[in-house]
Amino acid sequence: MPRRTANARQARSTAARRTPADRSRVTRRKPAPKSKPAAKPRVVDRAPGRPRIQDPIAASVPTLSPSASRGKYVYCIIESSEPLRFGPIGIGGDPSDVYSVHYRTLAAVVSDAPLEMLDSTRENVLAHERVNETVMRDHTVIPMSFGTIFKTREDIVELLRSAAEAFGDVLNKMQNKLEFGLKVLWDRDQAIRQVEHEDEDIGRLKEEISSQNGPTYFARMQYGRMIDTALQARSERYVTGILEQLREVSVASRINKPIGDKMIMNAAFLISRDQEAAFDTKVKSIAGQFDKLTFKYTGPWPPYNFVNIRLKLERA
């Protein structure tokens, strides 16, 4: 789990899970899911002619006094026809109750929140994540991105209704799948020294520059370009090698833009629950093969990187 700090409320609830920052080169920063039993069989009643029609409004659960300026913050979509409550763990300064809003067998996990925009502070983002983590223990989730607020419960029911089939399909696809993150960083200076050492042309050019008396501008330019190219090739080689090894233990992977200049790989992997141990072992074995690289391994997460929901709006 990423390092959590900030306010007292958060510190209390997460202290037990906090790991000292990066003591080991490869740590999974989030505990494995609380020994989840194989997911309960899910009954999706989609038999034609026998729709389980519920009044979508009446079907949603709790009677919370709605205030005019309150919206509904949505964390994720799950499959459930039963009303659910997850306790007062919602986002915002004064944690509100997290509960479900239903349409047939689909449910959105929500809490009441102010209609205004929520800042993506670490505290808020972690609150969002904490709810999804809780829901994930017993459900397959389609996570919403941070900051998704609907005006009313009816709007959420309409979202579920209008894409019910697609939500159902994706939930089936994501069943028993987990996301893990793997970031790989290197020490750039060390990598430069290595390429200088290993690449004869670069090594020679460096010597020329340092022994030259006159202007070295062009030689330095050329040196810089060669270093960049060599580093690029080297990092690509690392990344390809790592991905290759993880391919057989993952369902899918996604490569995101690296963050900062030390990162050479920023990837997310979708893993079958029954492959989790194999994936874990593989990551650790890879970390052992590359002793010059730092691995940041996190998860399990809901499949943020593998589901994308688009609302298509048409402007009048």
Binding site: T5, S120, F167, A252, N256, G260, R310, K312, L313
Partner: protein, 98 residues
């Protein structure tokens, strides 16, 4: 920080009418600020900056994002007048996605 970058890029996205989207993207581009925030998270994780330093950066970045997005982000409504013409859900394809 993995969850932050995942949350910021993942899931629910709004695809506006193309022309509108292009015009708005220019005026509302907060991606540089988001990148800055992600980088600060990473630096914090690597122990390159302290909690206090992070908090200062976070405050500045959030303020910047507010300035850009503040007036434009609204709660979502599915009412007919809001012209939601469809919901698309895209899920993983086996293999590598870049």
């Amino acid at each position: 920080m993995f969850i932050l970058d995942s949350l910021l890029i993942g899931s629910l996205r709004f695809v506006l009418d193309k022309v509108v989207a292009a015009a708005e993207a220019e005026a509302q581009d907060d991606s540089a600020l988001r990148d800055r925030l992600l980088e600060a998270q990473m630096q914090l994780e690597l122990g390159e900056i302290s909690d206090e330093e992070f908090v200062v950066i976070e405050r500045d970045v959030i303020e910047g994002i507010r300035r850009i997005k503040g007036g434009n982000r609204r709660a979502i409504s599915m009412a007919p007048q809001d012209n939601v013409v469809g919901v698309e859900i895209e899920s993983f394809e086996p293999g590598v996605r870049k």
